[in-house]
């Protein structure tokens, strides 16, 4: 059994296509200025529909993290221990990633990270992060 892969839909297609081009994009509301991720059909702050896509610098910090020792699926068992983090990007949105190229013991809240794109078995790469 393979890992769950991104399955783009009409709301998220733009995000995943941008990942292929090496950009992490988030939505920005032209009406109220709210930034949001994951992508939605409308703005979660003012519920307006006039949304733009903006690229993130890919720089951010660890907001929280966990080192997983008990994988939920067979397909992740070879990866343990692996780090799941919620990262806060400079532009004010948060995303879930795996932290790569890091000793899990050294990860801490506030650690500076940068987003990179990791190939998957599917068509789209997955945004991940590593220390910067």
């Amino acid at each position: 059994m393979s890992k769950p892969l991104p399955q783009p839909n009409v709301v998220t297609q733009r995000f995943w296509s941008s990942c292929k081009d090496g950009r992490f994009e988030f939505q920005h509301c032209k009406t109220c200025g709210h930034s949001q991720f994951p992508p939605r059909l409308t703005c979660t702050a003012c519920h307006g529909a006039d949304l733009d896509w903006l690229p993130s610098s890919g720089r951010g910090t660890v907001y929280s993290f966990t080192v997983v020792h008990r994988a939920p699926l067979e397909s992740f068992k070879a990866d343990v221990p692996y780090v799941i983090a919620i990262v806060a990007l400079e532009e004010g949105v948060r995303a879930m990633v795996n932290l790569r190229d890091v000793d899990p013991e050294t990860v801490g809240i506030g650690m500076p990270i940068e987003v990179f794109f990791e190939p998957t078995e599917g068509e789209y790469p997955l945004p991940q992060a590593r220390p910067r």
């Binding site: 399955q7 929280s64 966990t66 080192v67 997983v68 020792h69 939920p72 799941i84 919620i86």
Partner: protein, 384 residues
């Protein structure tokens, strides 16, 4: 204003490893026992609220259960709000009887998650609550999502691993007084610290059990409750709050909707947290309870951990809590896990809790949390 709804019957089945059990069978057994506890017969039930089942899932579980029981209720729906389901069932049942739509509503849950599916399958099924595109590709599980909360909560409020372990030990202490509990051997802080790591900072003994079991309650209209057998327990106040579903979309990792749902329930009941004599609060993980106790206002931020190590949740403590042993040490079989909390609150208020009885409680608080601290439902119950 309509007279308050009354809980007239409660029951739970054997819990833990119940060989040969089925989801429908556990629900039927709990339903029949709760109706009998009320001194009613199944024919008196005119409303049925079911939950959901992992081992016997169905699009219309409430109809399936009614058909199995041989009853034809005039109102029937299934409720799905994860760990908030049981409290949401009671809230809905209370609204139905207070509105005059039903007289006696049966709220029933049950699943055989321990013997009916492998542990791997249960963990995998639960991981499906993660966001399909933005969480599941990263290997998220329910424990990992709560671990993300725990890590941030510890960082912001000085909570330590020992504080979390103290929650597990306090629950085991309660379960040791409860002959029905699944886990009754004593544990120490050190046992928690040495248990298998699951997802840091959470270890095996920080996590709820996987169990078989069923539980049910009967909620009656105030006038209809006069026909029942035991002292009625009034549903004095109810409240809900729903802020997100996925942890990635949670507005905060330390402040949750239990604050608003409990405030609503306290306000409707006309009481404050300080008035509560016994509390039964959702404890899927040690961090769940700690974050809820502080978000609801039973303890100030950062104070619950040290207080719990000092015995605050014990029978004679500041807030006797999860007196049956909770999801951590009594049992957790899906939606029924939350219903065990309701059943225990009613038993405490009736004075039926035997070796774990709190001295003469007048007011109980019950809280359920579904998802990753996403859906919250609170109840204030009182002696009639």
């Amino acid at each position: 204003m309509a007279a308050k709804a009354v809980i007239t019957g409660v029951a739970d089945t054997a819990v833990g490893k119940v060989e040969g059990s089925t989801s429908l069978g556990l629900q039927a057994e709990a339903a029949a026992a709760a109706v009998a506890d009320a001194g009613l017969s199944l024919g008196d039930i005119d409303g049925v609220l079911c939950a959901y089942s992992f081992t016997e899932p169905h699009l219309m579980l409430s109809s399936v259960v009614s058909e199995f029981l041989g009853i034809m209720p005039s109102y029937s729906i299934a409720v799905q709000a994860g760990g908030a389901t049981a409290c949401a069932q009671v809230m809905q049942a209370a609204a139905l009887v207070e509105a005059g739509i039903c007289r006696h509503v049966l709220a029933v849950c049950g699943d055989n998650r321990l013997t009916g599916m492998s542990r791997d399958k249960a963990v995998a099924a639960l991981s499906e609550v993660g966001h399909a595109q933005f969480e599941r590709p990263y290997g998220i599980s329910v424990p990992s999502a709560y671990a993300l909360v725990a890590q941030r909560y510890m960082h912001d409020y000085g909570v330590t691993l020992e504080h979390l372990a103290g929650v597990a030990v306090a629950h085991r202490k309660h379960a040791m007084r409860n002959p029905k509990a699944q886990m009754r051997q004593p544990i120490t802080l050190e046992d928690v610290a040495k248990s298998k790591p699951i997802s840091t900072p959470l270890r095996l003994l920080d996590c709820c059990l996987i169990s078989d079991g069923g539980a049910a309650v009967v909620v009656s209209a105030a006038d209809a409750a006069r026909d029942t057998r035991k002292r009625g327990i009034e549903v004095l106040g109810t409240g809900q709050m729903n802020t997100h579903e996925h942890i990635i979309a949670s507005p905060s990792l330390t402040d949750f909707g239990c604050k608003q749902s409990s405030a609503q329930a306290f306000r409707r009941a006309g009481v404050t947290p300080a008035d509560i004599d016994v509390a039964e609060i959702y404890d899927s993980f040690t961090i769940t309870l700690l974050a809820e106790l502080e978000s609801i206002g039973f303890f100030a931020r950062g104070e619950a951990g040290p207080a719990i190590l000092g015995g605050a949740l014990d029978l004679d403590g500041r807030l006797p809590c999860n007196t049956h042993g909770g999801l951590l040490s009594y049992a957790h079989s899906g939606a029924a896990g939350g219903m065990f909390h309701v059943v225990e609150a009613v038993r405490q208020l009736r004075g039926e809790a035997e070796g774990r009885q709190v001295v003469s409680p007048e007011l109980a608080f019950v809280h359920g949390d579904g998802g990753i601290l996403s859906a919250h439902c609170s109840l204030v119950l009182g002696r009639n």
